[in-house]
């Protein structure tokens, strides 16, 4: 074989490996989400359940570019796939939805509000837009210490979240500091029930990039290969010192806002639009057509995912709930400065 052929084959291998790795996270994300939905319907989950259905390719493709332990990641409410790709354990995810005291949030916070900030996964607060500047701060800290190297930070946000003042302030400030911040906007056409037309008036949110002086990218977020490509490029640009990268992916939320919502506002016209494809189905087709995995292998993968998800939720369900009596009701790290109750 010529050198060129080897290169092509190895880059094809790399592409296939990336695709399969990301697809694996998409699958785990979907299976986990489906499990959550059924637990929710069975009344086993207290509080909201928000799914990433339709957003898995976009979510996983971003996280696939990130290096757990080195990069900073601020996933949002529809990033089960990305969290999986960034190395979150299914058990920790299940624990948070099911209120296990052993989970990372110890029952103090729930569902999507989970993370491990000191190890690079921020734990979102609900106020949309608020996480972006926190990612910037983490990057700035590293730069100040001379430890930024080629780290990036990635922050996820929805179409609706771009309307927040917090989003604007953070993107602008990151641009001024030229921080390696990748902002992944998942435009799933709706913010809860509110369609794009009532959320913003530009044609494509990527048009905001120029106004911030950052680089912009758009992608068909139903297409995993395209997502992998756009994030590979954007993350590489950020790592190389080209400042913030604004990526906008187009897709349709294939679920309600939360599982309590049957989304009557999503019409047939939306469901027939090009952005309405199911990225998981499309990615699976690609795998089959490319001969990367056989139907049998795919079925095994599905079974494995199902088993792991079932195991995680079963374990989490058996774990103890938090005990108010042994709980520390002290919000401060500096416990001796706390008012009211002492540590138990």
């Amino acid at each position: 074989m010529t050198q060129r052929t080897t290169d092509r084959l190895s880059s094809e291998t790399a592409r296939r490996d990336a695709f399969l790795a990301a697809y694996r996270s998409m699958l785990y994300g979907r299976v986990f989400d489906d499990k959550l939905a059924s637990l929710y319907r069975a009344g086993k989950i207290v509080g909201g359940v928000y799914l990433g259905r339709g957003q898995e390719a976009y979510s996983a493709a971003l996280a696939h570019q990130l290096r757990p332990g080195r990069d900073v990641y601020a996933p949002l409410i529809r990033d089960q796939a990305g969290r999986h790709a960034f190395g979150e354990s299914l058990l920790d995810a299940a624990r948070t939805f099911l209120g296990s005291a052993s989970g990372p949030m110890r029952g103090r916070d729930g569902n999507i509000h989970r993370g491990d900030p000191q190890n690079g996964t921020l734990a979102m607060i609900s106020h949309l837009g608020a996480m972006l500047s926190v990612v910037s701060g983490a990057l700035l800290a590293r730069r100040l210490r001379g430890e930024l190297d080629d780290c990036v930070g990635a922050a996820c946000i929805g179409d609706g979240g771009t309307s927040t003042g917090s989003f604007h302030e953070a993107v602008n400030a990151a641009a001024v500091e030229k921080l390696p911040l990748v902002i992944a906007v998942a435009n799933n056409q709706f913010a809860y029930s509110t369609p794009n037309e009532r959320q913003f008036a530009c044609d494509n949110l990527v048009q905001r990039a120029a106004g911030y002086g950052v680089e912009g990218h758009t992608v068909d977020a139903t297409d995993l290969a395209a997502c992998l490509e756009v994030f590979e490029h954007a993350v590489a640009r950020a790592r190389a010192g080209n400042g913030p990268q604004l990526v906008v992916g187009n897709l349709l939320r294939l679920a309600g806002h939360g599982e309590h919502d049957d989304a009557p506002y999503i019409t047939d016209a939306h469901r027939k639009a090009p952005y309405a494809g199911d990225c998981n189905v499309l990615a699976r087709d690609t795998i089959v057509h490319s001969g990367w995995l056989s139907e049998a292998e795919l079925a095994d993968l599905q079974t494995q995912a199902q088993q792991e998800v079932d195991a995680a939720t079963a374990t989490a369900q058996q774990e103890a709930a938090p005990d108010p009596a042994t709980q520390s009701w002290v919000a401060l790290f500096t416990t001796h400065l706390a008012e009211g109750e002492a540590e138990p």
Binding site: G99, H113, H127, A191, A321, G340
Partner: protein, 321 residues
């Protein structure tokens, strides 16, 4: 017929829209969808163009309402959850609240805050923010505890020529029912005796009124008659009614679901201590939520906020003082 607290809020908005063309509603998902809690269900169809979806922009939502109010409109802003009003707080405390004193222009906006805890809602969908708004001059802060007040006070809120923060309690939305809507109600600024008693006074508001009533039931079994005052409005705060009650009972427990530092319970206790010191037969007491974020898990949540049980315990302590 039976009507819930949430339906009362919807009915009040319906009536306000019907009676005054200056009224309109602005908030996230309030139009066709009827709002996250369905408090505006059907209103968009019934009043075309007057129930409008806003982008996720609480600052702009409130600013827009203020501008419309300057022009004589009476906007109702729905925050999706009270907790998100923190992002619109600046427009409320600095723009709306100062407008009349600075310029003589009235600012009749009503900001509805779906407030308070419910199981599983966690730190950012459970807050009671009345203390932040009541601290600032130029704002009226209402906290209805009953279906009747949810209706009557919301109608009044819209009619008042000042900014009103309307703290409606999510825990009461579905559970609280009344047979019918009232024709009349106590005016804003007046507290209500929710239950008459003679051994101690509990001053509460919003969902805590119901916990206090349950606690009073428990104490009745021990022979104590507890008076429960429903403040209804935390600013203005009806000190006279509170003092009159303490004059009857000699004992005061102020109960609030908000965080413990400052807030309505501190205001109630300190007013009674200042103005009604000699009416007190025992030290006045407070019961608030714990001084941590509001926990997600129902086990933790039910201990975090005051409940009938903890109020009863506090009352027993108070009666022994």
């Amino acid at each position: 017929m039976s009507i819930t607290y949430l339906e009362a809020i919807r009915e009040a908005q319906d009536r306000a829209l019907a009676e005054d063309p200056a009224v309109f509603i602005y908030g996230q998902d309030v139009a066709e969808f009827g709002g996250a809690f369905k408090a505006t269900r059907g209103l968009c169809d019934k009043y075309p163009g007057r129930v409008m979806n806003a982008p996720i922009s609480e600052d702009a939502m409130v600013g827009t309402a203020i501008g419309a109010a300057i022009e004589g409109m009476r906007p109702i802003v729905e925050m999706q959850f009270a907790d998100f009003s923190s992002v619109g707080l600046n427009q409320i405390i600095n723009q709306a609240a100062t407008l009349h004193w600075r310029t003589g222009t009235p600012c009749p906006i009503t900001v509805r805050l779906p407030s308070g805890g419910t199981p599983g809602s966690g730190p950012f969908h459970s807050q009671s923010m009345e203390a932040l708004y009541a601290h600032y001059p130029g704002i009226i802060v209402l906290c209805p505890a009953t279906v009747e007040d949810a209706y009557g006070m919301l109608l009044e809120a819209v009619a008042i020529d000042d900014p009103v923060i309307f703290c409606e309690h999510k825990y009461l939305y579905y559970h609280l029912k009344a047979e019918q809507l009232p024709d009349e109600s106590l005016p804003v600024g007046r507290a209500r005796i929710a239950r008459a008693g003679q051994h101690a006074t509990v001053v509460a508001y919003s969902a805590m009124v119901h916990e206090a009533l349950l606690a009073a039931d428990q104490l009745r079994q021990d022979g104590y008659e507890i008076e429960v005052i429903d403040l209804r409005s935390v600013k203005p705060l009806d000190t006279d009614s509170v003092l009159a009650s303490v004059a009857r009972t000699g004992r005061l427990l102020a109960v609030g679901e908000a965080f413990p530092w400052g807030g309505a319970t501190a205001e109630v206790v300190s007013r009674v201590a200042s103005e009604g010191f000699h009416l007190l037969d025992a030290p006045p007491q407070r019961l608030n939520a714990k001084d941590t974020p509001i926990p997600y898990h129902p086990n933790l949540w039910s201990v975090h906020r005051p409940t009938a049980g903890s109020i009863a315990a506090a009352l027993h302590d108070l009666l022994r003082l």
